[in-house]
Amino acid sequence: MKSIFVFSTLISLALASFVQVQAAESKKPNIVFILADDHRWDYLSVMDHPFIETPNIDSIANEGVLFENAFVTSSLCSPSRASFLTGQYPQQHGVQNNFTVWDNKNITYFEPLKAAGYATAFIGKWHMPGGLPTLRGVDQFISFEHAGGQGAYTGTPYIVNGKALKLGESPVEGVDITGYITDDLTNFSNKFIENNQDKPFALYISHKALHLPMEPDAEAAGRYDDVNIVLPKEADSWLAFADGSFKHFLWDSLEEKMKDYAETAIAMDQQIGLVLDKLETLGLDDNTIVVFAGDNGYMWGEHRLIDKRWSYEESMRIPFIIKYPNGIKNPGRRSQEMLLNLDMAPTFLALAGLEVPQHMQGKSAVAILEDKPESLRDAWLYKYYEDYPYPVPEQLALRTKRYKLIDYKRGKQDELFDLKNDPLEQNNLIDDPKMQTIYQQLKTRLHEMDAEVSQPAAAE
């Protein structure tokens, strides 16, 4: 009798451990990455913006970690997007401006996830030179080539896994086209989540919003008509028409365009809320990593500039928030660590329990999410490649926690800023005799990092 009891106990234990292993397998975290276009880091109510209301993005921050010092290593849509996907600097993945095409040999974070059993989808704006790629490791690739890959807020025909659809034709069975791109991309995404709720999935939602022409939906349009916009002291209302900026075709005063931008953001925030609701309804929210980020910043008159591209804070700084109830210690935190766009891919893979491939140059931020006293980096390299004909010089920059050195290829004097005492980067210290030692140190480090990041072996 005793031996039967021992035997049955052993069998039960073995079964229990088998079930636990199976459960652990099925508990691989889901990944939902939401990328906004041209979304400034401070256009969120959680960042104390004076008027914008983004309750849904705020909720990601309140239940996750908000990185207050998140940056892109090149402030332009295409290079930045390629860095998010590959975990590499533009010097390695090759998408450097609007001329250099995406190399289909590039390995994205989708490939190891797919190999590990994930269902994968890329839904939304691709917009890299060379048209839509053969994106390995992605089951469902819904995008568009309309308007040179930019898409339009209304009237965008979709392309699903390489098949071009007619305008109004839906790429997803059972999902009707609403006509407003942010809503459509959300509906496709929610259907993907619904269809893959029983297995781990990795979803990349790439919004057109808030890119020009910054068109909100009917519900959000006019919400901020009565808001009094305060411009940066160096800006004025007609800046979008001045000094080559007219090539961005804003066609309005800066104040009015800023309102459009904010309204487009709240229209997107509302849709992000629907994705979060879907995860909650399906009971997936605790085991899903949700990341909200921007592909670059946007200058609204700072330094008398609009658009991105430049090495100034408003251009290179992005919103970056990670929520993962099952994996974040002390949620609702803010981290001051300098996180880069190319850190996202290795972070996802590390959170999924996968090995981070050597070619990825970014660093996993898992330690930060676990609230360990570790530092990601003390300096990093920024590079903007010439993107003709926009009147912005090629530039290389070193950003440390305290200083920023900008080395312009031509057409502008190099700049050195003390970000602690001059966060708005108004006083160029490059010729200050007291700063020469620091300048030389930064310059040496800048060129060392440039060589290190650019050499062919850097990503092997």
Binding site: F99, D243, K247, E386, Y388, V392
Partner: protein, 187 residues
């Protein structure tokens, strides 16, 4: 001051005045914030600058005609105003991209359309000028030819861009075609 003005031929005085005004407005507009000029004043300087760039040519043309210039000379004087702005834009591009690419930047669609609009505005100003002469029973010129000529550049440019988009799905002048040229000849 009066002596300096008297040295400028009468037909050129308004054109020069507009160029000087535009230069002053540029300085106020670009640098006024550094000396704490209020936003309203800087916005006003921006508006005046915009009017100089857009309507300076038509105004200078009519004034040159009033002081006895022929149609061709009036056109030459009028076009000096937008030309100064255009050269400034090319110099900015050269500063960042070098000589050849900077020069080629001047051929981008927005600049071509700008000159198309300038010709059109000169045509409208000429029309108003000639109609005024007619109303005052003063000797005037035939209206149709000069007005039609002034519309021609915009029609040609619009036609190229429109046909490119409608028939081939290619934007010839603004970005796609322009950048194809850049890739082929400059890059």
């Amino acid at each position: 001051m009066k002596n300096i003005l008297m040295q400028i031929p009468a037909q050129w005085r308004v054109a020069v005045g507009i160029i000087v005004t535009a230069t002053l407005m540029t300085i106020i507009y670009d640098y006024g914030w550094q000396i704490g000029l209020p936003l309203a004043l800087r916005n006003l300087s921006g508006l005046v600058l915009f009017f100089c760039i857009m309507f300076g040519a038509g105004t200078a043309y009519v004034c040159a005609r009033l002081y006895g210039s022929s149609y061709a000379q009036g056109l030459k004087i009028g076009l000096c105003v937008p030309l100064v702005w255009y050269i400034k834009e090319i110099l900015v591009a050269m500063n960042f991209y070098g000589f050849a690419a900077g020069l080629y930047a001047g051929l981008q669609g927005p600049y071509l359309f700008y000159f198309g609009i300038i010709f059109m505005l000169i045509g409208i100003f000429n029309l108003i000028y000639q109609l005024t002469l007619k109303l005052l029973n003063k000797p005037s010129e035939k209206l149709f030819k000069a007005t039609a000529l002034s519309l021609l550049p915009t029609f040609v440019l619009g036609g190229i861009e429109g046909i490119g988009l409608a028939v081939f799905g290619v934007d010839v002048l603004v970005f796609q075609g322009f950048l194809a040229g850049y890739r082929t000849f400059i890059l």
